[in-house]
């Protein structure tokens, strides 16, 4: 027995040791991951983000350096009160903030870096940098922030924001604190603009000092700079559009029909893109985003879906010609509306009658188009087949679906087909008379301003369009081929000329007579769309939306445009004026119709927008009077920046 005491003890100790080692090294240990190794410092090297230029080579977006204090909670060694005091003073935070920030970072992940104090000033950075070594677990990360060289185009250019956890989970490239394009061009061309960050693995010692590259730097990567991009926007035209849109809500989209390049993309109200840079971004973004009255982050040019109103009539004219159900000189009598038997299906305004196609377009006669539309649908025995044929033609103009382009937001609009009404009314339990509103661009048809501008481009091109896009040029790269290939409509080229002539006569003798611009042959179409909101759960009609769609010149058009002004009443009142000015600005480079310009700059719709929120009964359309204001063209401030309207739920 005496012989065995030491022997058994030795074996026992050996077993305990192996068990403990097994626990430490095998059971309790995942595979070695260099990103988990606290002895290796991971230094990210962020490349220069690509610049953004407008179509004329004007620099719109550049960069500025920024310094974030990052923390890896697990590596933080507790600071004594003196150190803590010093650190907080350097960072300009209170000690309470220090602990909450640290707790928040720890809560995210004890081992991954989190931003602790983002975006230090250069001066704070210089002071802090020298003392940084004392504070284990903290380091300074250099990044580049955007620097906007302009105050316009917030919806076009977009902005950068910190990645959220969801993005990190789905894309391993990003780590917390990284910036990513959140809207506009920054979002759609994120990968082109951002480049690829480089990483350096550095061996640390226990004093948190660098002692050299890890594995002789063989694992390190160099940053690849982001590529510069040129966008199709003409910043002068964009700025002019934003000026015109002041004190109104709506959108303008201008396209070059010969290439599909978007020349201007205005939404109102907008904001200064510099508001969304740096430390103030979150605060400003929430303020903008939560403004549910003005919705400045809602791009009305791309996202606002409305019944397009009268401009849609020209599509029906084209479909009618293509289907052979109407000739250009077929005349329709208008008795202030369209009658089915003795029932008036739709009203009309006062104009000469009867009308042929040219007059129908120029005078925007409802009866004429209901007639044409019914002929299209009733050409087939089955209204469903007629409806599908009609829908396919309409969709070939880029309506009723996403344009599949390079803009970060969009809406599909709606072109109803046979199935749609089968679902609504029951199979074959409907006919053309049920759905005549589509004839005049109301009813179930909906489109966004960019779709309408594209439609105008397709008409101006007599039958094809290029997918509207915003990228013009990528440094050292080509732009996608789909932007270079035309999309053909289902309408034969020969049918376009009479319709184009009708749109030309809208300016010559029709609804936009007063908006003519000397020297430019503009083809256009006014539109007016009724609209309703719910106020205290009562469906209430508001003043009509003002819509205008145009292209110019008549032959080989250089610009196709859609203007949409909320509650602007009839088409030529606001939208028509603005479209004419934009066209003149683009083609002539200067404004001769200063009377139009002055009118737009001195008339505000803000009183109109306040009505639904006033809680009092109000009048609409013809019973309203316009609000005249001083010419605010010289005003510095954007409307959004100096008002404190809080969100009201409708």
């Amino acid at each position: 027995m005496r012989k065995l005491l030491l022997l058994t003890t030795v074996i026992l100790v050996g077993l305990v040791f192996i068990a403990r080692l097994f626990y430490l090294q095998v059971y309790n240990n995942s595979a070695y991951d260099i990103f988990e190794d606290t002895a290796i410092r991971k230094e990210f090297n962020y490349p220069k983000r690509g610049y953004v230029y407008d179509r004329n080579g004007k620099l719109l977006v550049a960069n500025q350096p920024s310094y974030d204090v990052m923390v890896i909670p697990r590596e933080v060694s507790p600071l004594d009160s003196l150190e803590l005091n010093e650190f907080c003073q350097l960072l300009k935070i209170t000690q309470d903030e220090y602990y909450t920030k640290l707790a928040r970072a720890k809560n995210y992940s004890p081992r991954l870096p989190s931003p602790f104090v983002p975006q230090l000033s250069k001066k704070d950075y210089a002071v802090l940098q020298e003392k940084m070594r004392k504070f284990e677990g903290f380091y300074i990360q250099k990044r580049s922030l955007r620097s906007y060289q302009t105050t316009i185009g917030a919806n076009v250019l977009g902005d950068l924001g910190e990645v959220n956890r969801n993005i990190i989970k789905n894309d391993a490239y990003y780590t917390l604190g990284d910036l990513i394009g959140k809207q506009g061009i920054e979002k759609t061309y994120e990968k082109t603009l951002r480049g690829v960050k480089g990483i350096k693995f550095i061996q640390k010692d226990r004093f948190n000092k660098n002692i050299g590259p890890f594995k002789e730097g063989t694992l390190d990567t160099l940053p690849q700079p982001g590529k510069d991009v040129t966008i199709t926007i003409d910043s002068d035209l964009q700025a002019y559009g934003e000026l015109l849109m002041k004190h109104k809500r709506g959108g303008i989209v201008a396209i070059d029909p010969s290439s599909g390049e978007i020349l201007a993309m205005v939404t109102g109200p907008s904001y200064n893109p510099n508001l969304l840079v740096g430390r103030e971004r979150n605060k400003n973004f929430s303020r903008l985003f939560l403004d549910k009255v003005n919705k400045p982050t809602f791009d009305r040019g791309l996202q606002a879906q409305y019944p397009p109103g009268s401009p849609f009539k020209v599509i029906n004219a084209l479909i009618g010609l293509q289907e052979g159900v109407v000739e250009t000189d077929d005349k329709v009598t208008c008795r202030m509306g369209y009658y089915y038997g003795s029932r008036k299906l739709t009203g009309c305004h006062h104009h000469r009658s009867p009308v042929d196609m040219n007059a129908g377009i120029a005078q925007s006669c409802n009866a004429y188009f209901v007639n044409v539309y019914r002929r299209i649908i009733d050409k087939y025995d089955d209204a469903g087949v007629g409806m599908n044929t009609w829908a396919n033609h309409a969709k070939s103009f880029g309506l009723g679906n996403f344009l599949n382009n390079d803009l970060s937001v969009g809406q599909p609009g709606r072109i109803p087909d046979g199935d749609y009404y089968d679902r609504a009314y029951g199979d074959n339990r409907w006919g053309s008379t049920y759905i005549v509103s589509n004839a005049i661009g109301q009813g179930e048809v909906e489109a966004t301003p960019i779709q309408l501008a594209n439609m105008a481009a397709a008409i101006g091109n007599r039958g094809y369009y290029y997918t509207p896009h915003i990228i013009k040029n990528i440094e050292g790269d080509t732009i996608p081929k789909k932007y270079k290939t035309p999309n053909y409509t289902t309408i034969d080229k020969r049918h376009f000329e009479p319709v184009v002539q009708g749109m030309f006569d809208v300016y010559n003798e029709g609804t936009a007579k007063s908006l003519r611009v000397p020297g430019i042959d503009i083809c256009g179409k006014t539109g007016t769309a009724e609209n309703f909101v719910r106020i205290d759960s009562v469906k209430t009609q508001l003043t009509d939306h003002s819509i205008f769609v145009a292209f110019a010149p008549k032959d080989n058009p250089k610009i196709a445009i859609a203007v949409f002004v909320e509650n602007g009443y009839w088409g030529s009142r606001f939208a028509g004026r603005m479209a004419s000015l934009m066209i003149e600005k683009h083609i002539n480079g200067e404004i001769t119709r200063t009377d139009l310009e002055n009118w737009i700059l001195t008339h505000s719709l803000e009183n109109e927008y306040k009505k639904p929120y006033s809680g009092e009964p109000f009048k609409i359309n013809g019973q309203t009077s316009l609000q005249v204001i001083d010419n605010y063209a010289t005003e510095e401030n954007h409307p959004v920046e100096n008002q404190n309207t809080s969100a009201i739920k409708l």
């Binding site: 005496r2 005491l5 022997l7 030795v10 095998v26």
Partner: protein, 426 residues
């Protein structure tokens, strides 16, 4: 004569191979733990790894020297060797050089030598000599006291030089005495005292007293025939409780703060988070770093010279007392279990050989060697992995240092020599 001559060189090669493996592997890890940047000259004696290579070279000379003496020499000169070693320890009080608060070194030029490393084999020889004396009977109090004095002298001297870790090693001789006839009651008392001490520190006097009372009561009821008087049991309980109280008092007032904190960390006594954080920066720092290094090695380790914590010198004293953490990081579980198994085999091999000795001197000495190696192995690796409180003693054959390496080499190879001679003992 020829047969005899042949047998004279019959060394136990298993022991020697295990020794060489440990020393060689130790060198690789010292190289890893001490190099800065690229290693250009392995023999550069301004670097620790260069020096250690030199120590290993001298070790070969030393081994040849040890093996070339007559086996009888060690028995005959045991007392003198012990005496010289004790004088060397005493001399430290006059000529000693203080390093890290311990006055345990002689400085000779740029070299330092630590006599306590050599006192171990000297004491082992002296104990073997005394115990194997025909007139010694380990059952008697007189001999127990005398043999206790042999180990008490070096232990006290070393303790006075502020090297508490090396003092603990002398407890190893308890195993030797037990093997050589020390009564069982000592073992029971020793174990009881250890349990009492831990209980008292961890759970306080009251709970310890209750547990002790329950244990003593169950012994009383278990021993139906020879119960003796209740008074005896009451005295044992009283002694137990006073011992627990003494341990508590000693812990609170007798220990230096850092020693107190080490124990506190081991038993997880500290509840105040602020104080715990402070300790993590001080007493627990080494342990935390060492555990992390070992743990980060995983199953197969990061590879020789590839340990990021070793390269970054995250573990202080990694080349000496914490060398095992290098093994853990760079060689992983494969490496660490190899080292543990190698040590266990070596100790068992020595025990096996010791039992096979014909002379009691050789057997006692062999037991001493096994026990000393065992205590070092247990305390060092246990400490590096956080199983026992921090005690600063080296890992035999592994840790950097000339005195340590030579001390253990002499200790082991005297036994190898004695063992090779067993055929001549009669």
């Amino acid at each position: 004569m020829l047969r005899e001559n042949q047998r004279r060189f019959k060394f136990d090669w298993i022991t020697i191979i295990l020794f060489l493996l440990l020393v060689g592997f130790g060198y690789l890890n010292i190289l890893s733990a001490s190099h800065v940047g690229e290693v250009t000259d392995y023999f550069d004696t301004s670097q620790l790894y260069g020096k250690h290579l030199m120590f290993i070279g001298l070790t070969i000379v030393l081994i040849i020297l040890i093996l070339s003496f007559e086996a009888k020499f060690y028995e005959q000169f045991a007392s003198i060797i012990y005496l010289v070693a004790m004088l060397a320890l005493i001399g430290l009080f006059i000529f000693g050089k203080e390093v890290n608060g311990a006055r345990s070194w002689y400085g000779i030029g740029s070299m330092t030598i630590q006599p306590s490393e050599f006192a171990k084999f000297a004491t082992a020889l002296a104990v073997a000599k005394y115990v194997s004396d025909l007139q010694t009977n380990m059952q008697t109090i007189k001999d127990q006291l005398r043999v206790a004095a042999i180990i008490f002298i070096p232990a006290l001297l070393i303790l006075l030089q502020n090297d508490a870790g090396s003092t603990i090693v002398y407890l190893a001789f308890f195993f030797v005495f037990y093997r050589e006839g020390l009564q069982q009651v000592y073992l029971i008392i020793a174990l009881s005292l250890i349990v009492l001490a831990v209980l008292a520190l961890k759970f306080g006097i009251l709970i310890t007293a209750i547990i002790a009372a329950l244990a003593i009561a169950s012994v009383y009821f278990f021993r139906k025939k020879k119960r003796g008087s209740i008074l005896q049991y009451m005295i044992v309980l009283l002694v137990s409780v006073s011992f627990s109280y003494g341990v508590k008092l000693f812990y609170e007032h007798g220990l230096k703060t850092h020693q107190q904190n080490r124990i506190s960390l081991w038993l997880r006594l500290e509840k105040d988070p602020a104080k715990l954080e402070r300790m993590k920066k001080a007493e627990a720092y080494n342990l935390i770093q060492s555990e992390q290094a070992i743990s980060s090695g995983g199953v197969s380790g990061k590879g020789f010279l590839q340990g990021t914590r070793t390269t970054g010198k995250f573990v202080p004293e990694q080349h000496t007392d914490y060398i095992f953490s290098t093994v853990g990081e760079e060689w992983g579980f494969m490496g660490t279990s190899f080292v543990v198994i190698a040590f266990v085999f070596l100790i068992i091999r020595i025990l096996f050989l010791a039992e096979a000795q014909k002379s009691q001197f050789s057997r006692v000495y062999g037991y001493g060697v096994a026990a000393i190696l065992f205590v070092h192995f247990t305390i060092n690796i246990g400490m590096v992995m956080g199983l026992i409180p921090t005690v600063g003693i080296p890992l035999p054959f592994f840790s950097y240092g000339g005195s340590g390496l030579w001390g253990f080499t002499i200790l082991l190879f005297i036994f190898v020599k004695l063992d090779s001679n067993k055929i001549n003992e009669w």
